[in-house]
Every structure is written in structure tokens, then in C-alpha cells.
Symmetry: C2
Subunit: 93 residues, 2 copies
């Protein structure tokens, strides 16, 4: 089934998950560091397991340096996760 | 069903689609402009409908200016698509 899922359905999942957590504080269009942390804990198996790793991730994603992650910056995280999927297969995980 | 799909399954779709097109030329880890164009034609309903729009999209995605789109830069495109999903709903499409 997954193979037939379209890119747009994947984008829809990204949108649903993003806005579920981004909507928690008053800044509904972006993820704060804490919202990102909650999202990762709920949705990612290999997540940053230390505060420093989380801060490094936020710094790397936060292109416009407003200390918030918008949905396009969040898309880059999905790209990193996709990269791990591919890398994981190559290393024969 | 989509609601229960996890972010990681979405990332897997992004990876599958990305590497299907990136693998066409000798640079297997990145999308060339033409590979991105073919990918968009096959997988996106609202795609750039002119050469200039495609060039603008490539320029915007291509953070490291190597004229190729890697999977993390491609993730930002998924973020933009996710943004349209949300924006689409808000404007009552």
C-alpha cells in the first residue's frame, strides 16, 4: 500500500502532525523547541536523546533564526528522516 | 487510515519517490532540475506550470547552490506542499 501512497498524502501527514503540535502555544504556525521535542517523542523512533542534540537539530533547521521551526524548515527534518531510511538500508540495519 | 500513518512512513514515501528519480542520472544522491521536473509531473497535482517557476523553485530549494537538490532540500519542498494543504483548507478550497 505504501508504494501507491502519493507524495501529496505524505505531505498531508506532515501537515497534520506539524499543526497538531504547532497549535499548542499561541504561535500556531510554528513549532517551538518544546513542541518539536514533544512531536519527536511521539512520532520518531530514533530521536535526539539529549538536550544538546535537540538544540543542535533546532539550530540546523531554524534557517531564519527566529527560534521557531516553520513547516518548510520542518520539511527538511522529514528529508533527514528519509535520508536515514535510505542510509539505514544501505548499512544493512 | 492516513491519520494513523506515522511520520516515518511519510518519510519513507519521500525517500522512495526521491531516490526513484534521483537514481536516473549518474548523481544518484541528488535530483537534477530535469529529474525534479519529471518527479513533479508524476507526483504533484499543482506543479510549477512554467519553466521560470520551475527555475525559481530549484533556486529556492538549492541551499548549497550546487544546482542539484539533495534529499534534505527536497524535504523543504514537502514542507511547502504541506503548507499548501493547510492553506488550502483555510481558504476553504
Amino acid at each position: 500500500i505504501i508504494a501507491t501512497m502519493s507524495l501529496e498524502q505524505a505531505a498531508k501527514i506532515v501537515s497534520d502532525v506539524f499543526y497538531k503540535y504547532a497549535g499548542e502555544d499561541d504561535k500556531k504556525q510554528t513549532l517551538s523547541r518544546d513542541e518539536l521535542k514533544k512531536l519527536l517523542q511521539a512520532h520518531c523512533s530514533h530521536k535526539p536523546d539529549s538536550v544538546t542534540k535537540l538544540d543542535k537539530l533546532v539550530k540546523r533547521l531554524d534557517d531564519n533564526k527566529d527560534n521557531q521551526i516553520d513547516i518548510v524548515e520542518f520539511g527538511a527534518l522529514i528529508g533527514m528522516m528519509a535520508n536515514n531510511c535510505e542510509a539505514g538500508f544501505r548499512e544493512g540495519h
